[in-house]
């Protein structure tokens, strides 16, 4: 699998040398980091205005809860022990090196020397221990970071610069988990202030510092002049070039683009596909296309109840549905069809196009075999008086308009085989409600996590068991002991090759069982004014970083 987590599809030359540098870096498949070239010397100073369409976080500390909007912001002022480079290799950040024990139960991290948090607290092994405790404390209300630290028993400070992670079981995903913004390191003194204060302005080691948060308006970030700890793939050393970042919350996508066009803001996220297509033909803008890691966007088939407890009916649905034309038309060529459960940002993603070849005749034959032979007046298949109806709750918070339209095409094409797809557009809480109550046959939910271990969260049978809240991540309700054992083994092996092979087998089995219909990578795009140089998306969870960025002209 070619791994290209960050690509800039800009055909124009005028956008500057940085873009060229990044394109080059990608072409070399991650052999080197983007380097500012000599002729375009970075300019110090200036304020970059960022307009975010993601929900405004309710707390800026990504340990609390732990969602993508928090990660977007936290990436500017918090840093992790490790990072990931373009090729998916784990690289040093706040930790210089690491060494697992032979049994995989203890990991010694050697920390970078001389790093201090922006409040003056030294970054040391004790700080790492405090952060992991903070993540594991129920009072923190952490969910993403808490899960990522699930196999960590405790962290011991061997000496000032050696933090020892003691695990309960071997965890091949530990480094990937630690590379995520949700497990980033915060000042112990900052955490000690209590949740309310820490939510307002978490204290990290990052290139910027939270200077104030005007709710529903913006977060002010100022440069950390003492900054000294860039990740191994950064473009320069020392403090950032930008003096400040004004991080605005602009929920309406048309307004965001208008503000970018008018020069009111320098960077926008979540541009709609038609906006990207329009901006692509305009050399005033640069497009950063950075698919999120973890799972691809996909439609899950609920195999836990009729009619999809029958593999033939699942296959029939997947054969009946035709999405390629819809993706092409509705996304204006900005999204590429996926045939994998994993994001193309994952090196270990396994694709099988043949499994998803549309074939209406085959679908009809399969449904006949499965006993869905009668049809009602609307042409919907019936079996023992039951209609072949599929409830499809769609979250309007998570599915952009283009995706909602795509689901209508799914509905139309499935109809030809005799499926009655009932789309329900719901707000986030109602959508959860429908999932908890198992009132769905098909559903689409994003999931972002660094590394293929996301497969264990999504397809291990343990994830069917709902918490009393009703939440479960295995929405396909895939319950296959062989998949379970493959995923468990893959998560605990320390042998890279064996791990890759186990994940491959697991994916073959998951895709081959027709539990899901992959659509495309989790779309994650940024449009930048062409004057913004040196910005890039982190190869961890594809959040933008402005450490190397500067404003030209």
């Amino acid at each position: 699998m070619p791994a290209a987590p960050v690509t800039i599809r800009s055909p124009w030359r005028r956008t500057g040398l940085i873009a060229t540098a990044i394109v080059t870096a990608v072409t070399l498949a991650g052999c080197q980091a983007p380097q500012p070239e000599a002729s375009g010397d970075p300019i110090e100073g200036g304020t970059l205005v960022y307009a975010s369409g993601d929900a405004e976080p309710t707390c800026l500390d990504p340990h609390v809860g732990g969602n993508y909007p928090q990660a977007l912001l936290a990436g500017q002022f918090l840093e992790s022990l490790v990072s990931r480079d373009e090729s998916g290799e784990i690289i040093p950040w706040l930790a210089e090196s690491w060494e697992p024990s032979d049994d995989g139960l203890t990991w010694d991290f050697t920390l970078r020397e001389g790093v201090t948090f922006s409040d003056g607290t030294p970054f040391d092994a004790e700080a790492v221990a405090v952060n992991v405790e903070h993540l594991q404390d129920p009072a923190t209300q952490s969910s993403t970071g808490y899960l990522a630290m699930g196999k960590v028993d405790r962290v011991e400070a061997v000496d000032d610069l050696t933090a020892r992670f003691v695990l309960t079981t071997p965890d091949s995903a530990l480094l990937e988990s630690l590379s995520q913004p949700w497990t980033a390191m915060q000042s112990p003194a900052g955490i000690a202030r209590g949740m309310e204060e820490n939510c307002e302005a978490p204290v990290g080691t990052g290139p910027f510092i939270v200077d104030g948060w005007v709710k529903q308006d913006h977060v002010a970030l100022v440069r950390n002049d003492d900054y000294s700890s860039p990740p191994a793939d950064a473009g320069h050393d020392g403090p950032a070039y930008l003096e400040a970042i004004e991080w605005r919350f602009v929920p309406d996508s048309a307004s965001r683009y208008a503000a970018l066009q008018g020069g009111q803001v320098d960077v926008i996220d979540n541009p709609q596909p038609d906006t990207i297509a329009a901006a692509e033909g305009d050399d005033a803008f640069t497009w950063i296309d950075a698919p999120r890691p973890g799972a691809a966007n996909r439609i899950e088939l609920n195999s836990g109840q009729a009619p999809f407890d029958d593999e033939r009916v699942r296959e029939a649905f997947i054969r009946a549905v035709e999405v390629n034309d819809g993706i092409e038309a509705l996304f204006f060529g900005t999204a590429e069809r996926s045939y994998s459960a994993l994001s193309s940002a994952e090196q270990l993603a396994y694709s099988d196009e043949a499994l998803f070849e549309p074939d209406l005749d085959a679908a009809n034959t399969l449904l006949d075999e499965a006993g869905w032979t009668e049809r009602d007046a609307d042409g919907v298949r019936m079996k023992d008086g039951v209609r072949l109806a599929l409830r499809f709750p769609v979250s309007t918070n998570q599915s952009i308009p283009a995706e909602q339209s795509l689901f209508e095409q799914v509905q139309a094409t499935a109809k030809q085989a005799g499926f009655d797809v009932v789309i329900e557009l719901l707000d986030l809480s109602s959508w959860y409600g429908a999932l908890f109550a198992h009132e769905y046959e098909i559903v689409s939910a994003p999931y972002t996590k660094v590394g293929p271990d996301v497969l264990r969260i999504l397809y291990h049978s343990d994830s069917i068991t709902p918490a009393p809240s009703g939440y479960f991540a295995n929405l396909a309700q895939l319950d296959d002991p062989e998949v379970d054992s493959l995923l468990t083994d893959a998560a605990s092996t320390s042998d890279e090759e064996a791990r890759a092979d186990l994940y491959r087998q697991a994916q073959e089995r998951i895709l081959g069982g027709y539990y899901l219909l992959p659509l495309y990578d989790q779309q994650n795009s940024f449009l930048l004014d062409a004057d913004v140089e040196g910005a890039r998306a982190m190869p961890t969870v594809s959040t933008p970083t402005f450490y190397d960025a500067w404003l030209a002209g």
């Binding site: 809860g65 732990g66 529903q216 605005r248 008018g262 918070n397 998570q398």
Partner: protein, 296 residues
């Protein structure tokens, strides 16, 4: 007010969805059992519904609006911070709507059929314009096209122009319709003839006499209008990225943040009540007849 609080409380609980889950984020963040339990305990969500309801009432009676589930700050503080922006927006929009409506109705009445028809056409069209569409068109013309006003309101006076105009235009349509009818009505009154007989010009009559009559129904409509503007603020604040009550409400509903939703709804109800009183007083000032009745 009690009825409003009760309705809001149960309405939001009728919609499916678990506040505890919503508090802890989306599917990208799978909440742990410990975290959920903690949240439920912290916010009293593990209590029976009726207990939660009574607890809320007891709080409200003492003037305590509670603490936001999502933002973890007192609701009163939260609303206090956002009230100013939204009220400024609504009051400015009301003012602009009044000016537009007065201008339009004064211009279009008594000027013959064509002016009347054109006036009515403009009013109907304006009143029927949805905010989201109007906002998009205004942004396309005045931000993207002409570059006069920014599409994202950053607290500068220039940033307020488009949101205010977006809210004002449909409202002006409503107000002008009402004003024009009563203006036409007033023009037929005997006092107009006597004023004319005293040698008043047409414009003088309009400005000095009939305008008072015309404004009466519009004044009583303004109380309703302010409430209507607050609901319009949900759309306008979202599009122009302004901080305010509308966005607070939208976010709170999505997150099932009951204390905040109740707080906003109570506040809007309060604005209605206050505005009814204010328009009553204003009507008395504009119409001496009402004052005499009161004196009797």
């Amino acid at each position: 007010m009690w009825a409003v609080a009760t309705l809001t409380f149960f309405a939001i609980r009728l919609i499916p969805g678990d506040p505890a889950q919503a508090i802890l984020g989306g599917p990208g963040s799978q909440a742990s059992q410990e975290a959920l339990d903690q949240v439920r305990r912290d916010y009293g969500l593990d209590q029976p519904l009726i207990v939660q309801y009574l607890a809320m009432l007891a709080r409200l009676v003492t003037g305590d609006l509670g603490t936001s589930y999502a933002l973890r700050t007192p609701v009163a503080e939260l609303l206090g911070a956002q009230l100013g922006g939204t009220m400024l927006l609504a009051v400015l929009a009301l003012l602009v709507a009044w000016i537009l409506a007065l201008g339009l109705s004064l211009w279009s009445t008594g000027r013959g059929r064509t002016a009347g028809a054109v006036g009515e056409g403009i009013e109907l069209t304006a009143a029927a314009l949805p905010h989201f569409w109007l906002a998009a068109v205004l942004i396309a013309i005045f931000s993207t096209g002409l570059g006069w006003f920014p599409p994202v309101a950053t607290g500068t006076p220039a940033g307020l122009v488009l949101p205010v105009v977006t809210l004002a235009i449909p409202l002006a349509g409503f107000l002008a319709q009402v004003m024009r009818e009563s203006l036409l009505d007033a023009m037929q009154q005997p006092f107009v003839v006597s004023a004319r007989a005293r040698g008043e010009s047409t414009t003088g009559i309009r400005l000095r006499h009939t305008i008072r009559h015309a404004s009466l129904p519009a004044i009583s409509l303004s109380g309703w209008a302010l409430g209507w503007l607050l609901s319009g603020a949900v759309v306008v604040e979202t599009i122009f990225a302004m901080p305010g009550l509308g966005r607070t409400l939208l976010q709170a509903v999505t997150l099932r943040d009951v204390p905040v939703v109740t707080g906003v709804v109570l506040l809007v109800a309060l604005v209605y009540v206050v505005m009814t009183v204010v328009t009553d007083v204003a009507s008395r000032l504009a119409d001496p007849r009402l004052r005499q009745e009161g004196a009797r």
